[in-house]
Amino acid sequence: MVDISSLPLLSILTFLPLAGVVLILLLQKASDGVAKQIAFWTSMLALGLAAWMVARFDPHGGFQFVEEAKWMSFGGVELFYKKGIDGLSLWLVVASAFLTPVCILACWDGVKERARSFMIAFLVLETMMIGTFTALDFVLFYVFFEGVLLPMFLIIGVWGGPGRVHAAYKFFLYTLLGSVLMLLAVVAMCLHAGTTDMTALMRADFPVSWQIGLWLAFLASFAVKTPMWPVHTWLPYAHVEAPTAGSVILAGILLKMGGYGFIRVSLQMLPAASAAFTDLMFVLSGIAIVATSLTALVQTDMKRLIAYSSVAHMGFVTMGAFSRTPQGLEGAVMVMLSHALVSSALFLCVGVIYDRLHSREIARYGGLASNMPHYAFLAMIFTLGAVGLPGTSGFVGEFLAMQGAFLVSTWMAAVAGLGVILGAAYMLWLYRRVFFGRLDKPGVAAMKDLTFKEYATLAPLAVLVLVMGVQPSLFKDSIAPTMRDIAETAKARANPAPDVPPPFALNRLTGGGAP
C-alpha cells in the first residue's frame, strides 16, 4: 500500500498535464478528437487532484505539501527543487486547474486547425501555471514564470486573429525587458543570500539600497504581467487577437502572476523597498483604475473593452496588496480570484456570440435578450460580478481592497471609488448595447440560445460567482491567516538592518568571493 499522503502531490499536479502531452504525442495516429478527449480528461484529473488538495489544506497558514530535494550546487549556491503552497497560492493553483478544462471545452468546436498542437500547448501552459504558483525555489519559479510565455505566445501567434503577429510581438517586447531585469535580480538575490530557497529569501534581510534596485527590477517584470499602467497596452492587442480559450487563460490566470509576484516577491522578500514605494504603487494603481476605466468607455470592440476593464481590476489588486493591511491583502487575493472567474466568463460570453456572428464589434449586436434569454441571464450575472455588486464575487475583493487602502490613504480609496462608478458605466453600457434594444441588426435575430456545451462552461462559473459573493469565507478562511502573516511581517520588516554598499560587481558569479 502506498501512503497517499506521502505522495508529492504538487509535483504530480504540476506534471500531470505533461503526461497528457506525452500521451497525445505517443498516439501519433490519434485524431484531433482523441487529442481533445485526452486533454480534457487529463485536465479534469488535475482538477480532481486540486480539489483533493483543497480538502486536505490546513487553513491555519504556513507552507504546506512541501517537497524538497537538492538539485545542484552552483557557485556556492545551493539549488533546490522545492515546492509548496500557502493561502496565497492555494486558490490560484485551483483556478488554473479549474479554468484549463473550461477552456478546452470552450474551444472544442472552435479550433479547427491543428487541434492536436493546440491541446498540447494548453496542457504545457497548465503545467507552467501550476508550476509558477507552487514553486518555492527561486530559479524554479523563474523558469516556470517565463515558461508560461512560450505556449501563450504560440496560442496567440498561431491560432490568433488577423493581427496576431503584431499582437504577439508586442506581448513579447514588453515581457522581454521585464524578464531580463528579473533574471538579474533573481541571480543577485540568490548569490547574496547563498540560497535559492524562497522561504529563506523571505527571511533574508537585504540592505535597503539593494532592495530598492531589486524591487525596481521586479517591478519591470510584474508590472508588465499584471499589467499596470503604463505598460498595459499589450493586453488589449493580445486579447483581441487571441482565440477565446487563449483570452480566458490570459485574463483568468496569466494576469494573476503579476499580482502573485508582487505579493510573493516584492512584499515578502523586499519589505523595506515595498514600504518605500507604496506611494508609487498607489499612484500607478489609481491611474490604472481611472484612466483605463475611462478608456474602456470609448471602446467599440468587446474584447478590447473587457481587456481594459481587466487592467482596472488589476489596479485594485496592486492597490490592496501595497496597502500592506490584512484587509487590503485579502482583498487583493479575492479580486484576483473573482476576476479569474468573471473575466474568464466574460471572454467566454464574447466567444459565444463570436462563434455565431464572427464579429466582436459591439455595434453589430443588439436586443439579444429577446432571442437568447438564457445567455442574457448568465451574462448579466457576470456583468454584475464585474461591476462589483454586493452578493457577487466582485464585491468582496473590491470592498476589502478599498477598505485596506482607506486605512492607509483616503485619497487612494476615493480614487478607487471613482473607478467603481466608471466600472458600472462601461459594463452596463456594454450590456445595454449588446442585449437590450431592438432585435433589428442583420443576422442577430437568427442567433440561437446557448448550446449544452456552452451551458456546461458558463453555468459553473456563474454559480461560483454567486457562491463567492454570498459565502466568501469558503475561500477566504484559508487565505486570511497567510495574508495576516504577510501584512504583519511586511510592516515589521519595513525598516531593516543598517545599509551596506551594494555589490554591483557580481563577482561571485565568476567564482570570486564576497567583496
Binding site: E330, G417, R432
Partner: protein
Amino acid sequence: MISIATASLFAPLLGAAAAGLFGRRMGDRASQYVTCGLMLFLAAVACWKFYDVAVLGHAGVETLARWIDSGTLRADWAVKWDTLSAVMVAVVAVVSACVHVYSIGYMSHDKSIPRFMAYLSLFTFCMLMLVTADNLVQMFFGWEGVGLCSYLLIGFWFGKESANSASIKAFLVNRVGDFGFILGIFGCFAVFGTVEFGPLFAVIPSLSTLTMPFLGMSLPALDTLALLLFVGAMGKSAQLFLHTWLPDAMEGPTPVSALIHAATMVTAGVFMLARLSPLFEHAPFALSLVTITGAATAFIAATIGLTQFDIKRVIAYSTMSQLGYMFFAAGVSAYSASIFHLMTHAFFKALLFLGAGSVIHALSGEQDMRKMGGVRQAAPKTYMLMWIGSLALAGIGIPGFFGFAGFYSKDAILEATYASGTTAGLMAFWLGIAAAFMTAFYSWRLIMMTFHGPFRGDPHAYDHAHESPPVMLLPLYVLAAGAILAGIMPLKWFTGPENLSEFWRGAITVLHGHDAHGLPLWVRLLPLAAALSGLILAVLFYGKWTAMPGKIAAALGPVYRLVFHKYYFDEIYNFIFVRGARALGRMTYDLGDNRAIDAYGPDGFSMISKAVARRVAALQTGYIYHYAFAVVIGLVVLLLWWGRW
C-alpha cells in the same frame, strides 16, 4: 435558532427564484400565484411581527451566517428586529403585496410576466435585507441590490431606448451616491474599528470630538462620516443634485413606480438617517445640511411638479418633494415624524401611482394629461381612489376630529421644524409650507386635467376606456384604507410625548428633542390653510378659469421655462459628466495609450530598430570597393585613436 418571521423574509427570494428560473416552464399563471402567494404570506407575518416587536417589545438580532470578515472587520448576514425595522418590514411587505396582486391585472398583456414577477420579488427581498441589516455592509448589500432591481425594472421593456437610458442613468446616479456611502463605511471602520450597529452606536458618544484625516485634511470625524453616508442617502432618495434619475425612472411599468420609486426604495435614505440617528445626532453640521438639502428638495421638486404634463412625472416630482419633507424632518431630529411620514406616504403615494396606472391602463397607455379629461365617467372607482390619495397627500383634515394620513404626518414634521428654532429649521418650515400649497395645487391640477372636462385625446382611445378589473382595484382599496387610516391610528405611537421610550425603545436616538406642544395656533393651522388654498385654486384654474394657467405661464416667461425644463439639471449633467467622461476616455485612449505609450514604447522601439536595421542593411551594398572604403576609414580612425598619446 432562526425565528419564523426571519425565515419569512426569504419568501420573496424563493418566489423570485421560482418565477425567474422556472417561470417559462411553470407558465405565467403559476408564476403569479407563487410570487403573490409568498408575498401575501410575508405581509401577514410582517404585520404580526410589527405587533410583536413594536407593541410587545420583542426586539433582538438573529445572526444567520458569516459574510465578510477580515482582521477585525466583521460583517455578518444578520436580521435586526427593532421598532424601526419592524415598521419598515411591515410597510414594505404590505405595499409590495398590493403591488404584486395589482401587477397580475396591469401586466396581463405582457409577454414576460414571470420575469416581471421575479424582479418584483427580488426587489422586495433586497429591500428587506436593507432594512433589517445589522451592519453597514449588509445595508449596502440591500442598498445596491434594490438599485439593481430598480435598474432591471426601469429597463423592463428593453426594446425601448428611452427605458434603457433611464435604467442606466438610475444605476449610475445611485452609484455616485453609493460612492459616498462606501467611503463612509470605510471611514467607520477606520475610526471606530467596527461596522456593526451595536458596537458602533455604543462607541460614538465618547468620540464626538474626534478628528480624522480625510483627503489630506483633518476633519471632525463624526460630521465627515455622517456627510459621506448622507451622500448615499441623497442618491437613493433623489435629493437635489442627485435627483435626476427619479423622473426618468417613470419609464418603467407603473407598478414599479408605485413600489420602488414611491413607496419603498426611494425612502431608503430616510430609513438610513433614522437607523444612523446615533451618528447623526452627534454630527450637528451634517444634520443642518440634511435639513437644508431636504427643504430645498421639497420646494424645488414641488415647483417642477406644477409644470409637468406627464401624469407619472407629476407624481414622481411629488414623491421627490415629499422625500424632502422626510429629510428635513430628520435634519431637525424629528426622526419619528420622518418615519411616520414615510409610512403614510408609502400608502397614499402607492395608491396615487397605481391609480394613475389604472388611468393609463384605461386609456391604452396614454400618459400625457393634455390628452386626457373626463375619465371620471369611464372609471368612477379610480376617480374616487385618486381623490382619497390626493387628500392624503395634501394633508387635508379637520383638526381635532379626523384627517387623512398625510394630515398628521406632515403636520408633525412642520411643527417639529418650527419648534426646533434653528435658522435651518425655520427655513425648512417656510419652504415646507410653500411646498404644501404647491402639493395641493398640482394634485388637483392632475385630478381636474385627468378626470374632469371634455376628453382631449384620440376619441377612439376613449371608446375603449374602462374601469380596471377587480384584481387591480382590490389592492387599491387596501392602499386607500391605509391612506385614510395610517395617520390617525398609529398617531400616538409616532407623535405621543413618550414615543421614544414607549414605541421606539432605543431604535432611534434623539439628543435634543423639541417639544412641539404649546406652539402658536397659526403654526398648527398654516399647513392646512396652505393645502386648502392650493386645492381650491387648482379647482378654479382648471375647472372654471381654464385660460388662467396659460396666461400665468406666459407672463412668467423665462422663469416658467426654467422650471418646465426642470432647471436644466439633465442638460448640465449630460454636458459635464456624460460627455466629459467620454471625452476623457477618448483622450486616455487616443492620446494616452496610442500616441504616447505605444508610440514611444513598443511601437516606437520597433520602429527605431527597423529604421536602424534598414540603414545597416543599406550599408551592405555588395560592392567590394564600398567595403574596402569602410575598412580604410576604420583603420584611419583606429590609428588616430592610438596615436593620441
